[in-house]
């Protein structure tokens, strides 16, 4: 009894100490993340203005959303642009950073130097810098619009051509987003179990097969992190078409009311969260299930093996039994012969 009491006291004190360290973040989270999150949803249903007396609320239901979708002419095209940017940039970032990290992970010299070059955009990447670079034409160094393949795609579907053109026109920007993903992928590659590769090589797999069957499936969890990171990073970046609109509605909210800004922000956030959800569903780690399945299979195989072994053992004993049986019968026969001899005698 005494011991139990002591233990609970100890854990309680460690609870206290832990929450002491956690306190600033905890207050911040509740006050500046959790409460605002729900308050924004609440706000979006009101017409809110600030005047001399303070904040005045007026219930208008879904009026703000109606205004955003149907009465505001700029918002809908911006949403579409935003979705296209996310749809094109995130896969491009994933693929490019994966290729670069695979290249960097081979046996090459100056790896540290290359890594330094690829990581430097992380340090300087900010909205105004990027805007100035784009305005001064310092970022476009590939012009795809003249290439015949691009013309063919354009004839086939202008929408697709727009997306591809967007990737190539902003190729530097996309590359500049890959700084952190490359490091994450390289880290993931180095953590991978080298025995897997050896086993595959012994089984006669070539590099291409190893890449598709071993490397990529094992990088899935890293890819999930990279994709979520990219979605969030692009959403809050100034070059993104909806960003300026969102920020302007927040800062100049007295005209249309804070509730309208709330509605806009909510729609925008829902889109971002939907993207995070899609990424999560697509790249969710199913390795554990596969592993469990393989474990179960292995167990089953082992069980079968054991049964076989036992059967073999039984067979062995059977043959011995047969031998014994023969021996006994021979003995009996001998005995009988002996007894018959005795009787004859």
């Amino acid at each position: 009894m005494k011991k139990k009491k002591k233990a609970s006291k100890l854990t309680r004190s460690s609870n206290k100490a832990a929450y002491m360290f956690l306190l600033p973040w905890l207050i911040g989270f509740i006050l500046f993340v959790a409460y605002p999150f729900f308050y924004t949803i609440y706000l979006s249903l009101f017409y809110v203005v600030r005047d001399v007396t303070g904040w005045t609320y007026e219930w208008i239901g879904l009026g703000n959303y109606e205004m955003a979708f149907f009465r505001n002419t700029t918002f809908n095209p911006l949403i579409l642009d935003f979705v296209i940017v996310e749809l094109t940039y995130v896969p491009a970032i994933l693929v490019l950073s994966l290729i670069l990290s695979l290249l960097l992970n081979t046996n090459i010299k100056f790896r540290a130097g290359f890594r330094m070059i690829y990581f430097f955009p992380v340090v300087v990447l900010s909205g105004p810098v990027m805007t100035q670079l784009i305005n001064s034409d310092s970022t476009t160094n590939i012009d795809v619009t003249e290439i015949i393949v691009f013309r063919m795609i354009e004839n086939f579907s202008p929408f697709l051509a727009d997306m591809i053109g967007g990737i190539f026109n902003n190729f530097t920007l996309i590359l500049w987003f890959t700084g952190i993903p490359i490091i994450l992928f390289m880290n993931g590659l180095q953590k991978m179990n080298s025995q897997l590769y050896e086993a595959a090589q012994i089984d006669g797999a070539n590099s291409w097969q190893i890449l598709w069957k071993i490397t990529l499936p094992n990088l899935k969890s890293t890819a999930l992190v990279v994709a979520i990171f990219s979605v969030v990073q692009i959403a809050i970046f100034q070059v993104n078409p909806i960003y300026t609109f969102v920020v302007d509605t927040i800062t100049s909210n007295y005209v249309k009311g804070l509730g309208f800004a709330g509605a806009i922000v909510l729609i925008y956030s829902v889109i971002v969260l939907i993207f995070v959800g899609i990424v999560f569903i697509l790249l969710r780690d199913r390795d554990k299930v596969i592993y469990e399945e393989s474990l179960r299979e292995r167990k089953e195989r082992m069980r079968l093996k054991m049964i076989k072994l036992q059967q073999q053992r039984n067979q062995k004993s059977l043959s011995e039994q047969v031998k014994d049986f023969f021996k006994k019968t021979i003995d009996k026969l001998k005995k009988k012969e002996v007894s018959q001899d005795d009787q004859q005698a």
Partner: protein, 356 residues
Amino acid sequence: MTSKLNIEKIKKIVVGHKATSGVLGKIVVYALLIGVSYIFLYPLIRMISMSFLTQSDLINPEVDWIPTKLSFANYAVANRVLQLLPPSLANFSENAFTAILGIFKDGGNMWKSIKNTAILAIIQTAIAALTGFAFARYEFKFKKFWFAMVLLSFVIPLPMVTIPRVMMFFDLQDSVWLPFIELIQGTFLESIFKPRLFNTLFPQATLTLFGQGINGAILVLIFFNFFKMIPISLDEAARIDGATSTQVFWHIYVKLVIPIIITVFLFSFVWNWNDVYSSRIYFWDKNPLITMRLGAFDSQFSDMAGTIPGTGGEARLNEAYRMAATFLSILPLLIMYVLAQRKFIEGIERTGMTGE
């Protein structure tokens, strides 16, 4: 026989038994890596090259990369528009004494940006260390829940929580700060405190103090993983000797993790420097932060050119000025990166975001 062997040998050297071990594979890898490096660095090189071009060089079709003569005129203009150096230094030749005194009065936007960013970064590093320590070293109720919340706070888009934050700071200003200012009116304190909370660093500093600075979750993760790597026996030994939690934290962990503190500080500095969003929302337009000034460079330039916007001033604006200003605005970051690039890359590796 021998020729066949030679051919196989050559084939092995050129192609290799793995995709990247032969000469051919190596050449392809290097070519790709160098090509991509060029695209990575192209904007930077172009920026630096352009920032030295004069007006006539820009028009001259023969000049592409290398300016005809070296001149820092563009940088002088960029400095004037962004007000990087203390403004009193401009009339240094006339009155050296007042010019130097002026430095203390108004240190210029470069100094102010570095100061503000450093303040935010120091606060953020300290709070991230505390939070990361709590998660790495203690078992407490709802630990998993709160840890999930750390990750969630990174995924929630910032605009989603911005409006109530702004409203809270307005309320704070109205109900607490203004009465306080009225109270201290007439005393010597009046000159120290500003009558408004916006247009100061206060909102951003408050948010950072409560762990909600820019990319705070990543910094917490870096600390979390690093603290977890330290063997717990060190901690236990100290506790057996009678150390309290605070002493353990200070004497064992903080002193062991100084390298990682530097890494987190660098990251925090860089992200706060580039955090235009929070600056725009909470600091409004008088922010001395250079990246913010750069965003308003075009309008500021035309204002200072002394003409009506859209006629003369903007017309005189050219890429060379813009590039000089851009280069100056990222110069502190580039210097930091060149000096401590190893730390930056280690920091991201330490987040442990891969695998978990």
